[in-house]
């Protein structure tokens, strides 16, 4: 579905992504991990077309989105991609419900009634009914993040991009969000999430570990294994030796 081909991204003189390549298949759940400053978020924004590339290209279902004009890319993002951010970024002057329906109403692919019906269904599925008319400052972080997922799903996107979706949530809310993501993926939604939390990454079937703007390694989990344990074992291999020894002692 997405082919990332030798992409590079630099800010002024700093090279953040360095000739990175990988693929995401349709229906796949991919987690991208790596230490702070490794370029995880930059990778997400570059793949989704929110940031321009310094080099390389991203093919989305065969279409090179790296060279798309800004307006076309916005439309593409609106209809084909859904986004969830760490801090449940929502517009402060809209109610929870209007925040969810906004991308659907802007896309105008379906009638307003259809959009609203879907929003209601999504809210029910995310178990956040009853907060529709509330101001976004009047709901909990977990509710807001689930509302963000509803917004991301409103246009039936082909892929869901998540940037540290549970970074600002407590463990209870994190589990609720993860359950939803697993559920969505089970229904065929392609998901790519950025996370530094192995518990979150363990929901994915494929984990890409990046370091210094390059893919250091990737791992696909087999079904029926304890993914979290296997992932932690795998991750231990990326930790600096001294730190490893320190941990052992």
């Amino acid at each position: 579905m997405i082919k990332v081909k030798k992409i590079s991204k630099s800010f002024k003189d700093t090279l953040v992504l360095h000739g990175m390549s990988f693929e995401i298949e349709k229906g796949e759940f991919v987690a991208v991990m790596g230490p702070s400053g490794s370029g995880k978020s930059t990778l997400l924004y570059s793949i989704s077309g929110m940031d321009s590339l310094s080099d390389g290209k991203v093919l989305f279902e065969g279409i090179n989105i790296s060279e798309m004009p800004e307006a076309e890319l916005s439309e593409f993002r609106l209809t084909k991609m859904g986004f969830v951010f760490q801090n449940a970024q929502m517009l402060k002057n809209l109610t929870v419900f209007d925040n969810i329906t906004l991308p659907g109403l802007v896309a105008k692919k379906e009638s307003a009634d259809t959009i609203k019906k879907r929003a209601a269904e999504l809210m029910k599925r995310m178990e956040i009914t009853g907060i529709e008319e509330r101001d976004i400052r009047e709901v909990s972080g977990g509710q807001l993040q689930r509302a963000s997922i509803c917004r991301a799903m409103i246009n039936n996107p082909d892929i869901l991009f998540l940037d540290e979706p549970t970074g600002a949530l407590n463990s209870g809310a994190t589990d609720q969000v993860l359950a939803i993501l697993e559920d969505l993926n089970r229904d065929g939604m392609t998901i790519m999430t950025i996370t530094h939390n192995p518990h979150v990454a363990a929901q994915a079937r494929k984990v890409i570990y990046i370091r210094d703007g390059q893919v250091a390694s990737s791992k696909e989990f087999q079904t029926g294994v304890d993914r979290e344990k296997e992932l932690n074992d795998w991750l231990r291999g990326f930790q600096p030796k001294a730190a490893n020894e320190e941990c052992t002692h």
Partner: protein, 776 residues
Amino acid sequence: MKLLLNLVRKDFMKNKVITTALAVFLIISALFMAGGLRVAGTMISSLNGLNELAMPTEYLQMHTGTYDEDAFEHFVETRDYIKASLIVDMLNISNANIIFQNETFEKYLMDNGFVVQNEKFDFLLNMDNEIAVVQDGEIGVPVYYAEELGIQVGDTITLHQGSYSKNLTVSTIIRDSAMNPALTSSKRFLISQADLDELSLNIGEWEYLFEFLLEDGTSTAVLEKDYLDAGMPSNGVALTGNALTMLNALSYGVVAFIIIAISIILIMIAVLCLSYIIRATMAEENYTIGEMKAIGFPGKAIEKLYQIKYLMLVLVAAVIGYLAAIPFGNFFSSSVVMYCGHGTSQWMQWIFPLIGVILLSLIVIHRCRRIIHKDLKSTVVQLIRGEERIKKEGHYSLPSAGLKHRNLTIALGELKCKWKEYVVIALIFVVSSFLILLPMNMKNTIENPSFMTYMGVGESDIRIDVKYSDKLAGQKDASLSYLENDPEIERYAIYRNGYVQFQNADEDWEYLRVENGDGSVFPLEYLEGVAPDDSKTIALSYLVASEFGKEVGDSLTVKYQGEELIFFISGIYQDITYGGKTAKAAIDFAEEDVEVYIIYVDVSDGVAIEEKTDELRSILTDSKITPISEFVSQTLGGIMDNLRLVEGAAIVISLLLIMLITVMFLQLITAREQSAIAIKKAIGFTIRDIRIQFGIRILMIQCVAIIIGTVLANTLGEVIFGLMLSSMGASKITMIVEPATAYLLYPAAQLLVVFITVIVGTKVVKNYHIRNQIVE
């Protein structure tokens, strides 16, 4: 201190656009404040200087015809409050007989008198403010004509009547403390005694000016009453020193007044902007302030930190404004300097603006301190969480039918939630629209033919003054007979003007100019009541009625040729001619008492007024023929020119103002809304969409502001204009608006300026990215 300066430097680098725009605002405010006060200082110094050196008369009575010189001398000798007196013999020469560069002075309304230098007081000064001296064959020309016609020393003025002709060489330009301004209707030329004697044998009519200086503390009213009671020569206009000073102040003070008025508006705007910017900046800084407070940074130190930037900004603005006000003020006071000289108190032009900028700085600093102090009162937790700000905004609802016009809907919705943030910019848009329209509407009103109704007569095209002749009646008859037989004349009416005495509230007798003629030919709109319709009724001008507390229905005792006549006041009208003090009544003036016959003429459709004026001038050579438009502009003297100047300046300032405020506002608002911008971009709004939304919000606010500004210019503007003209005799002005310019062209120009500024100012939207909103 070094640390503070370093912080200021860093802050400037971070907020270059806002700081620069704010600095420009403050500089313009300081410039206008200092400039206006410099003009005022120069004006006061100039007028005082002229008054000191020229020793103007404190009371002046004009008179034509014979008088008893012995009786006058006896009158002066028996009044110990009279310090000095003199009789000026002034030879009035018709404008048609005065020629400069092959053109007569006919297009000027001024009455021109030729005099010799006075010996005791009321001196005519040269351009060095010394008592002017001219030799035989030389002439001193009033500065008014030097300005209007560009007459220079060395030029020749020809006086010509019939076969007589005399050339005089301009040897000096004259400053005249009594008749300097364009608003006074007479001008004096200085010639030698020998030339005056020669001229009087061939040309002109004598008029006499009886002038007085009074002992300190004596009121001119005492002299005036005494003078009239004693039956001294007095069939012309009487003027007091105060009235002359007021005419001067009105002529030269208008510019200073307007500049200071604009500066006050600008200062208000600058303070509003500053308050807004400080609040906005402080809101962005809340987290940092909270942190500083949390680690125990003293409140005073934090205050100082945030004040220093604005303190430096205002000091820089004050210095630049003060310095820039020197050429600015000089430009606007060039007229008063030309007419009156630099004067003797030149320190005023340096000290007044200095006080102004100091005052401005204090206002701004005080405002800064208050806002910052108030802002710092919040608790650490409030500051760090930014609670106060979050609470303030509500939310809007998306329409249930969907988003037909997504950018419009979202822009209006956000505007509904954030309207408080737009109050300042809206106010500035209102003020700028008002500033553009008011002078323009004033100018249009004055230029409109209907302005004539404020000059005591209905609308007409041409005015003919029949004056200056022993054969006044013959001249008048000749004029009437010509007009009667000219098919290009649609209608005309003749009015006899003379003076009567009337009894004021204190039962003292005063002179009043009365016009007698058929008021129905050029009907006049009365403020109250109606035109006099019989020999028992009189109409008074607004100034006479208000000054003497007369109302419609009151009685008024009038004395003419020793006979007391009782009139009832039938109406009150507006009139700015003859100092605003006139009346209309059917007084049967004897031929010798008629000061002037004024004939108002309407030409037939399709006849060019200018051509008809030229034709009449060539035929009725002894009369003064003036198109009404010219009459209005000359009666209002420099006010028209000033208005043109102000109109141009107001447009430039207003457009600059709205451009600056839009740039500043966009910088602030986009920075404040960077999170919303980033979210919108992330969920699929294009950069163009977001820029359009900002544009709609600002242009929507501007449209409403323009409407309010326009309404205010038409309503409040009328009141302001009325106040300006009420001292001249017109209190109730109906503003004439040029719809195409006022309702289309200027609003479009303002919208265009803001539109272009929005295009440039919203480019910053590109820079805001969702990644900056994520706290890792």
